[in-house]
Amino acid sequence: MKNFSPFVIPFTVGLIILLAACCIKWVRWYRHFTPVQKSQIRKNLISVNLIRALVESVNECLLHHRVFRRNLMLGYMHGSIALGWFLLIVTGAVEAGLEVHGDRHVWVAVFLRYFVHDPEAVCPYAGIFAQVMDSLLLVVLSGVSLAFVKSVYHKVVGMRKVTRHTAFDLFAKYSLWFIFPMRLAAESATASLYPNGGWLTDAVGSLFSVETARLMELPLWGLYSFSLGLFFASMPFSRYMHIFTEVPVIFFRRLGVRETDRRSGYTMYELSACSRCGICIDDCPLNRDLDHKTVQPVYFLRDIRYKRPQLETAEDCLMCGRCQVECPVGLDLISIRRQMRDRGTLDTAGTYDYLEKVKPFNAIGRVGYFGGCMSHLTPGITESMKKIFDAAGQKYWYMDENGSVCCGRPLYQQGFSVQAAELRRKNTRLIKDSGVKILITSCPICYQSFTKEYRLEGVKVMHHSEYIAGLIASGRIVVTRGDESITYHDPCELGRGCGIYDEPRKVLEASGRLLKTGQEREKSLCCGHNLGNTLISFEEQGKIRDSALSNLTAPAPDIIATGCPMCKKALGTGNDLKIMDIAEVVARRLIFS
């Protein structure tokens, strides 16, 4: 056979294993998509979303834009290897297309220099190709070197902790690292014998004597092929499967596929799309404040993927969403965590009989107000809302003043999906029967539930910060601006959960002097009392809270404001700082005309 040498066998075998395993996995997972997910894909298949997905794939899988935003060095490390290698493959294929005619086996492009000794003779651009390929190789090598430095000195890429990998992942990683130096050595050996090198391979090749080059050429190509084969064969079973799953995840997501309450085929894609980069570790409050080392998504997803999920890991998470903001793959980490907490089948018959006693109310012409269970422990908030409604001349129906029904989200987050649905059904009926067109809530937990887990068509759900901001903007209430300084705590559920960052700030700026803090908006710190975690102790919650407080108190404000009754309680625990809800801040400064 022309253009064949036995040394290509390891590479070829590896490639076959890789492609076969990928295909099998892809097809199997796709078959486990829910009917809704599949119909989403069909519905959006021919749309501009496809182009968006393509752009995102290039941005994230090759350029690693999100990683760059986090840390330049880390971005360079990921980007140089991914993009560099990708271009090496593409350029190599093009070059092979121009230089080899007939017998163009898959391995020919990969080992081109071995098979084409005098490229200039067949292709006028061969010289340019050689220079370009060498430069690309250097880019990849620089990325690999950085990865090596990172493994001993994490700070170089701005990480405090890095992933503790399994032995198998390490094996795959080392075979990956091995590929490029081997390629350089093999091509250089050949370049010292034939005129087919570029600037780099020529330079390295000049270090070989002709005898050594003759002796070493074949073994070096063999090692190169072997490391490629090893890496390819380990890819589908190691973290490197992410290379082949990130792109489909991006496409599915762009086509409207979302995680569901139960694990689906899409979850399987997401699980494998995690590159175990470990970026989610550093900012997790459980890591930062409590040194819980095994619960972050990187480990949690790995445990599920390798079928050794730990219930404790599933439970030990605040669901604060901080990791999700950092994850460069944009995985839906919270939903996957929730799926693992599935307690829907637990028998709770009879527990919800009391729901029947809550009677409907005709509230046509009013707005609905839902304080939420937590607001019952913070009457300062609900009383302030009453004042604000009165000042705006707004008739309202305080839906859960007596005999309240929980929105269901605390149960839902703990995996009681069926039970939560029961509460949702009741509240949905109450809301629909009441005839309200606007439902306002002071609790971001309820707000997230109403907007995402309920189907309340025809009812506009608002967090009280949105509502108050609207009242101020339209002049329905007037507040005097005081000179007290305020820092604002973004509640996880409101900020990262629902993307509401601006309205609370607008309201506070209208009432006082809003100061900036070091970590705010999507980077804000959890108050530690998020309902997501029922495992950590009161003392542990306290440590997380104190971190959040040190961020909030750093600018020495007169008032710390927040928009969540839960956060308000949490932040005020064990101290006598002045913690207020935005509704209270406003209610104190109302001017009645």
Partner: protein, 336 residues
Amino acid sequence: MKHNIVIIGAGPSGIEAAHCLAVSGEHVTVFEKMEDPLENLRNKAFLFPDFTSASELTETFRTKLQHPYITYRGGTSITDMERMDGRWVLTTDRGEKIDTDDVILATGYRPFDASRKEELGYGIYNGVVTSLDMEKMLLRGRVVNSIGDLPSRVAFLQCVGSRDSKVGNNYCSKVCCITAAKQAVEVKKLLPEAEVFIFYMDLRMWGQGFEEIYRSSQQDYGIRYIRGRISEAAGTFDGKVQIKAEDTLTGLPMKMSTDLLVLMVGMEPSEGTRMLAGRCGICGEYGFARSENRHLYDNVTSREGLYLCGSCKRPMCLEDVISDARSAAMELLKSR
């Protein structure tokens, strides 16, 4: 200016210590941040366990403070103190430096700020008051609800700000159980028709005569004790307070509306105690001042010439405060 002994704080403990030293021939200066001494005691009506009128005691202490060897400096707070060349140098809020051999810290406690337990509605609903407010009403001899009428129901809640890790105070304040029993009896004396409830975790009737008050409050005054903490309070449209609690003896949740909810607030170290104990490096748990040894040297500190007495160390009842003040004076004299 030279002073032999400075006492910071003119509550019962500061005055008692000053008086003991004065009668032993020492010259003492007493600093008090308020103009008038005995801030906390003046707001009390009757004292447990024997219902002595607090004003009697106040008068006695005022007389003691008149001793010719005592210089009283009201309205002056000490903002800093430092040990220099074997003496203490104190700084007042007027920037004055006071140089003295010995200092007795009698800076006492402050009542817990009940609005920190927001779910109980203090500062939000007028029907929710603290034990201090109740004491003032008793002092005036007139207990009224939020709209100025005589209440038909009064509920007391124990352990507000004490034994509560949520506010960071895990300790028992020691005096509020018996104070609630005492106040309940007084309310009942004023308003025999009213229903009076006391919500408690457990009752700590540790002192002489306490148990008797507790028993008589039930037998003679019909006061009802319910074991369980109140989880939340909400105002009603007619100015009452609706409370939710769990009766932990029957295991049943309960709701009740009441005219007055009285929060039995605990004791926390006063600002002065926190600050000065911190400055002197004798800050103990929860911000109270720490003595050298709870058994043998409870008035002495790790700092030479610095003594402690009274509730700057921990929650104490009046009887204990007074004995403690005497023992602090004795410790100081011993070292002379």
